[in-house]
């Protein structure tokens, strides 16, 4: 086991997959010579050259379109879109092409591509570089949506995403890039569609992805002092969702609090809340709550930025009110 940062875990996943399978290649803005805006593709250009690490023009539609074309013709592209905010420009390629092709060609075509997108707040990057748009992507049948929160999960899931024959949107939370954790030296994968119980507990289930997993774990520590035992679940994949793990947990704890950076309205929490109440209604001892980002553009001012997304204190306060 090696201790590494999440950004390094992603980098090693890319490198190992490119070494393992020569169909795997990387494309995106500044992913080559510069090594990626957050350094995820650092050193790949030097090792694999400009044929397999392609710096593209500033056109997200072109990046996604090129990836779709490469995928259907036998390659396994890993495209980087610099911020999830810019995925809006790539949506036609993703939603109408990548997600539909396998279905519309009667299973004769597969689209084995990955689109990596950094998301979330915390860098004072203002309203067009800080969003959490995962709900847009969760909504599309034919896409898979993955969002790891630890270096171990990031590496194992990115490998699975690259090896998957379907288009996968791989969401990386910016604040977690520098987070350290243990990562095995040997090759391993983590199955897409499998949630992870990050902390076991009895009284309430906290459901969170990305950086909110870490906030929830901190809140769970504080709540434990007050006698409230929290189970923290990271779904890790937002499509398909591992409802078995989530429902089993809610059946045990009778309470569910969803913690998300994304805006509340029609965010991922709405999906979780709706399905859990439908399938575990008789086990709920409190309303399902969403501790979510406010329905506002993310402010540039760092203090304001902090106030519009959940904090550890807010999680503690709102969970306590369930009892």
């Amino acid at each position: 086991m090696a201790q590494m940062k999440l950004v390094e875990a992603l980098n090693s996943a890319l490198r190992e997959e490119m070494e393992r399978d020569e169909r795997v290649f990387v494309l995106g803005e500044d992913v080559g010579l510069y090594g990626g805006i957050f350094g995820v593709t650092q050193g790949l250009y030097k090792q694999f050259g400009p044929e397999r690490v392609i710096d593209t023009p500033i056109s997200e539609a072109a990046i996604a379109g090129a990836a779709v074309g490469a995928a259907v013709t036998g390659m396994r592209p890993v495209a980087e879109i610099m911020f999830i905010d810019f995925i809006t420009i790539a949506m036609d390629q993703l939603v109408n092409q990548a997600a539909k092709m396998c279905y519309m060609f009667g299973g004769n075509v597969s689209v084995p591509m990955v689109i990596r997108v950094p998301a979330g707040t915390g860098r004072s990057a203002a309203a067009q570089h800080s969003q959490s748009l995962e709900a847009w992507l969760m909504h599309i049948p034919g896409l898979k949506v993955v969002c790891p929160s630890t270096p171990y999960d990031a590496k194992g899931l990115l490998k699975s995403a690259i090896r998957d024959d379907n288009p996968v949107v791989f969401i990386e939370n910016k604040i977690t890039y520098n987070l350290s954790g243990e990562v095995p030296d040997e090759d391993y994968t983590i199955p897409i569609g499998k949630a992870d119980i990050k902390r076991e507990g009895q009284d309430v289930t906290l459901l969170a992805t990305g950086n909110m997993v870490h906030y929830s774990l901190k809140a769970a520590d504080e709540l434990q002092q007050e006698g409230i035992s929290c189970e923290v679940i990271d779904p890790r994949t937002l499509r398909p969702i591992d409802y078995e793990t989530i429902i089993n947990s809610v059946v045990k704890t009778s309470r569910l609090a969803i913690v998300q950076e994304a805006c509340r309205t029609a965010g991922p929490g709405c999906e979780f809340a709706a399905t859990v109440q439908e399938r575990a209604f008789d086990y709920l001892d409190a309303p399902i709550i969403q501790i979510a980002g406010m329905d506002v553009p993310i402010p540039f001012n760092p203090k304001l930025e902090k106030t519009v997304v959940p904090s550890v204190e807010q999680i503690v306060r709102e969970v306590k009110a369930l009892f």
């Binding site: 009778s254 008789d282 086990y283 709920l284 001892d285 409190a286 009110a321 369930l322």
Partner: protein, 398 residues
């Protein structure tokens, strides 16, 4: 200036009261301190005085309705003063042409009728209640906003009676309410919490009867009549003053032996029972005990005892002699620790020396809380009482 008449808080535990009767009509003049209405609680009926002089301008809560303490139930205005707009009667408001005011009025109207409240319970609590066959309306919610949550259902112990027996023609099914509910709760709490032991002792009352007759001859000119019961209260109070262990209350883990002897006297009513309290009975002259007891019994039967007259008891006396009962096992009136039951006086043959004599005998039945009083302690008290009844002059020794 208009003065609000509010539902008064007549005792520490009072949370709501029922308007029994308005003693003044709308438009009638009232003086400050004059009885304005009658309010009944689960214990008593009390007259409420007018808080200000003027005219009873509006009755907000009509007779027969129950409201929370401190809720405005009526308005008194000064003589000649107009009722403020917001409090004006319905008809006037309706004729008002200004739209906003009507809206304001309608808004209050929507809030006014106390709608039947839906029981708030979590889905899990409902499922648990269903499985256990429990009625959610019986369960108190401890969740946020008073919601019934799973722990409330899990911790709930249904009343021992189980499901309601089916009611057939000729049966009368009555819900326990008001005084009956209070009695039911207090008696079952006492009986389940306190290990009761009852000691019986037969006493010769001929001396006490003679004394009563003597005293009444003396008091005849003053128009006071002392009853046998008054004498029993007097000697019991004297005995308690010297056996503080039994003149006590117990709350949770704490026993308080009271300095004052406040004797409760159980008074049967048509539809229940109340225990008015004779405060400092050990220090009152017999004539005062007699007149106070008479007054309290009359008030009790009329339902006019004040909360203050029902509180602070340290020991209770209950007499079933008039019903031909010889002895019985009374239940302690909590938080007190003992109660004395008095039976019928019967002339019976008694062996005295080598002779058989006929004497008026009476049973004393003393129930005590065995957690805080031992058998011997209670027996010694009963012995003192017996001696005082059989030889009342010994009261001077105490």
């Amino acid at each position: 200036m208009a003065t609000e008449v509010v539902m008064p808080k007549l005792g520490l535990t009072m949370t709501e009261g029922t308007i029994n009767k308005w003693l003044k009509q709308v438009g009638e003049e009232v003086k400050k301190g004059e009885p304005l209405l009658e309010v009944s609680t689960d214990k008593v009926v009390t007259e409420v005085e007018a808080p200000a002089p003027g005219v009873l301008a509006k009755i907000i809560v009509p007779e027969g309705e129950t409201v929370e303490v401190a809720k405005v139930i009526g308005i008194i205005t000064a003589l000649g003063e107009e009722l403020p707009d917001i409090l004006a009667p319905e008809t006037e408001t309706k004729s008002e042409p200004k739209a906003p005011k009507i809206q304001e009025f309608e808004r209050t109207m929507i809030q006014a009728p106390p709608a039947k409240e839906r029981i708030k319970a979590s889905p899990k609590a409902k499922k648990l209640a269903r499985e256990k066959g429990l009625d959610l309306s019986q369960i108190k919610g401890t969740g946020p906003g008073g919601r019934i949550v799973a722990r409330d259902v899990e911790n709930f112990t249904p009343p021992a009676t189980g499901p309601l027996p089916p009611v057939t023609a000729g049966d009368e099914s009555v819900e326990l309410q008001g005084m009956r509910k209070v009695i039911a709760e207090r008696m079952s709490k006492s009986f389940s919490e306190k290990p009761h032991v009852t000691l019986n002792s037969r006493v010769d009352v001929s001396a006490l009867q003679k004394l009563r007759n003597k005293i009444n001859e003396h008091l005849e000119s003053k128009g006071i009549k002392v009853t046998f019961n008054d004498l029993l209260l007097k000697v019991t109070a004297a005995a308690l003053a010297h056996h503080r262990d039994l003149n006590a209350i117990v709350e949770g883990n704490r026993l308080v032996k009271r300095g004052a002897v406040n004797l409760g006297l159980a008074v049967a009513l048509d539809d229940g029972l109340v225990v008015p309290v004779i405060k400092n009975a050990d220090r009152l002259p017999l004539a005062d005990i007699a007149s106070l007891t008479k007054e309290l019994i009359e008030k009790a039967r009329a339902g006019r005892l004040k909360p203050d007259e029902l509180q602070g008891g340290t020991f209770t006396l209950t007499n079933l002699g008039m019903y031909g009962i010889e002895n019985f096992t009374p239940i302690i009136n909590p938080p007190e620790v003992a109660i004395l039951g008095v039976g019928q006086i019967l002339k019976v043959p008694v062996v005295e020396g080598e002779e058989i004599a006929i004497k008026p005998m009476m049973y004393l039945s003393l129930s005590f809380d065995h957690r805080v009083i031992d058998g011997a302690q209670a027996a010694v008290f009963l012995k003192t009482l017996k001696e005082l009844i059989e030889e009342p002059r010994l009261i001077w020794l105490l």
